[in-house]
Symmetry: C2
Subunit: 480 residues, 2 copies
């Protein structure tokens, strides 16, 4: 340990020294509007891939490989629209070292000045020790953080303590098209010796304490289809004389979840892993309270007031949300339609140890029974349209242990161990395909506004974050 | 009566003789694509008004007045879009005669060959003794019917038995913008001596028996707004920890109506006029059965199998339909949104003797109570956004008595007395503003496909319909 600290000290000094260059690197990255969801900006996404390749070349990366993924599948306006490439690179291939895959994405969410940005979203601006710009925290900041760390090592002529494999994609904000296939394809090839994966693409829970993230909920998405008349009908002529699909659907949807979030489908909660003492202890010191939830939701509508209850219900209990209805009237004003077919949408956020197949059967059987009770002559189908598994890691494994030491060294404080309520599907893909542990090591704060206007990363998070990534590699390199 | 029949015989013969000219008149009218909802076709709507003026001039109408209505209010693409005019004309002003206002509209629904029409919708085609073309039955056929009737009288040098006041509008398919104001404005002016109004703009109930229509349901349209978070939220992050507006809304909406159409709001049914023996008797001979309902709805989803039950629930009992939700996810596929604000839409079809204000209070109080029971911290508003009164006439008054005789004379059968489940708001406006009885005297059949592809009017309906309109004026002229 003492050895590592003496190794890290000059690296940290170098990182502080290079701060202006690192901010300049992020400025250049943010200046490229690589919005993957806007077809007209697709050339900018490619330009961003070129930028990364140039940076990797300048850092003397080995085996830089730009994986073209071909045409984007429909629906697209331009039938010849090409998917942005996945940029791969290696730093070192010493068989005596561990190999860490670092994943990040170089595409960003859309952003327009007129959405309410205080300044041009694609011109990085420093105000109050914060760097404002689209992608500053999601995910160009962290990607640049890795490049910064490599640069610092290079300038000091210090070897990286591990072999690094970079995997940077350009479609993360648009469904990561092509990524799963590439990972499967390269698992025994480009990614062959990877022993561990590190992803810096989420955020601190709040604004005061760094975190390490060891779990994500899954998401099983369902739809309920009620079909009656042959076409949409006029409620003047048919209201009161036929069985209306909307009436049936609303009755079934109303029996799925209570106002306090309790899932009404029997035995779903029986599938959930019990809370252990070890886990319970993790919640005690976490930096969070109900005010942060209210601030984030922009309302005073929290179901629970207690920190532990809120976090457990966000992270480790399932939830059921009703999202909407396809086929019904959705516009402003008044339209007197009886929709012929309506499709209710809802999803269940899944957690350990819920078995997806068992859950689906419980959900679908329950919906079918509720519909049957109605005695309606309309037809009813309940189905899963999109499964998504949860992910949970052991927050006491080598990766988390190393990341705790790195965080403590840089920030002088033990990180909170968090989960997230949402999904990062690639986490599970890496874990399964590469048979490696995955560590989520976020750089930004909970108030960074990823996906929102005035996205920012705090200067300390960007610079100390670069140190944390560096320190992690060193601590991880000496784990058994 | 014998007198009238001897007057009518030569008129009927003349109408048969003029049949080719009458079909030609309808052909010319259908050829003008006067689609009021398509701004790019607005010049055609004006051209159709010019066509009517020319026809009226050729028939030596008095006091032809084209009432310009000015700019169409927003939302419109062209801020200078002019409303089509209302074409007024008079035939005769003999103070010893009754004055009948005839209303019709010269605009039509949109129609494109590629929607599935068997032939160009704007080229009238005769097949199987039916005249196919947009507007053939709704409402150019009936409007031409009135002109045909006047022409037959003119050619025989027979005076019309009443003074006629024509009121033809060009925005009926697009909300009748400007019509109510014009009627109010002209009630004591152009429409001063009107004693009765006749509208031919609905349809036989089925295909075998002519009908007279004496009632229309009203429509009170409501919306329920549930507001929670400050913005749409991600269900991964907020699912299970905040009170979701959709959950609340679906709970309230599920308590409005049962699957069998029963309105669950207490005391609403208490407002409905009891069924009298006289009314009950009207249902016995009506040409209708459940198969016609199933054919029309394109499904086997009828709540009632018995003719009387179906018709009573369509015509003289209220119904409640759930139309949709504004603000929720409505697209195909999966979106994991928690909508911040959702607005549920439903309407109640109203019937005699429901008082609109009392109904609104019952509905809104009930919804407020159901929401309160939920104990949700979200905000809730229940409101009426669009009232629409029902209309019912005495089917034994002078107008209906004359129309029965006319129908019997032309068709050799007593007409069915029907109501309609939907609204024709101008009916009530005429009744109230002109303090006159209104008769709905339809020309077309229940399968004419108004608003649908392959709209048609049967040749016998067009020609015998012209005779019926003529006969009505004669029978009505001698009522006390």
């Amino acid at each position: 340990m003492a050895d590592i600290e003496s190794t890290l000290n000059p690296i940290f000094t170098k990182i502080d020294e290079l701060k202006p260059q690192f901010i300049e690197r992020l400025r250049k990255a943010v200046a490229i509007p690589s919005v993957s969801s806007d077809e007209s900006l697709r050339p900018e996404v490619f330009r961003m891939a070129d930028f990364l390749v140039d940076e990797l070349k300048a850092l003397n990366a080995d085996d830089i490989t730009v994986k073209q993924l071909g045409k984007q599948p429909p629906p697209v306006a331009d039938a010849n629209l090409q998917l942005p490439p996945i940029v791969l690179a290696k730093f070192g291939s010493d068989p005596s070292k561990k190999t860490v895959l670092i994943y990040g994405h170089y595409d960003v969410q859309p952003a327009l000045l007129e959405d309410g940005w205080a300044s041009d979203p694609f011109a990085l601006v420093e105000r109050d020790n914060k760097l404002f710009g689209r992608g500053s925290t999601d995910d160009k900041g962290p990607v640049m953080g890795w490049l910064n760390s490599i640069q610092a090592h290079r300038e000091l002529n210090i070897d990286l303590p591990v072999n690094l494999v970079c995997c940077f994609e350009g479609m993360e904000e648009s469904g990561s098209l092509g990524l799963d296939e590439l990972i499967a394809q390269e698992a025994q090839n480009y990614f062959q010796n990877v022993s561990s994966v590190c992803i810096s693409d989420n955020y601190w829970l709040g604004t005061k304490k760094p975190v390490l993230t060891y779990g994500l909920r899954g998401c099983n998405y369902y739809q309920l289809t009620v079909k009656g008349p042959g076409a949409d009908l006029h409620s003047g002529i048919f209201g009161g004389v036929i069985h209306e699909p909307m009436t049936d659907l609303i009755k079934v949807m109303s029996q799925l979840v209570d106002v306090d979030g309790t899932i009404k489908i029997p035995h779903v909660l029986d599938l959930v892993a019990p809370v252990t003492e070890k886990e319970e202890a993790l919640y005690k010191d976490i930096d969070f309270d109900v005010n942060e939830l209210n601030l984030a939701s922009g309302s005073d509508t929290a179901i629970y007031k207690d920190k532990r209850d809120i976090l457990m219900h966000r992270w480790r209990f399932p939830s059921l949300s009703l999202h909407g209805i396809e086929g019904a009237f959705y516009g402003a004003g008044a339209k007197t339609v009886i929709p012929a077919q309506v499709i209710g949408k809802f999803s269940i956020r899944t957690v350990p140890d819920m078995d997806s197949d068992i859950l689906n059967k419980l959900v679908i059987d329950y919906c079918n029974e509720r519909f049957k009770e109605l005695g309606s002559p309309n037809t009813f189908t309940a189905e899963l349209i999109h499964p998504g598994a949860y992910w949970v890691s052991d927050p006491f494994n080598n990766e988390f242990t190393a990341a705790k030491l790195a965080t403590k060294t840089v920030w002088g404080i033990e990180p909170d161990l968090t989960r997230e309520g949402g999904s990062i599907p690639v986490t599970l893909t890496f874990e399964q395909q590469l048979k490696s542990n995955v560590l989520l090591l976020p750089m930004g704060k909970g108030d960074d506004g990823a996906h929102s206007i005035n996205e920012k990363v705090d200067v300390p998070n960007y610079i100390e974050g670069t140190k944390t990534l560096s320190a992690y590699l060193h601590y991880y390199s000496i784990t058994k």
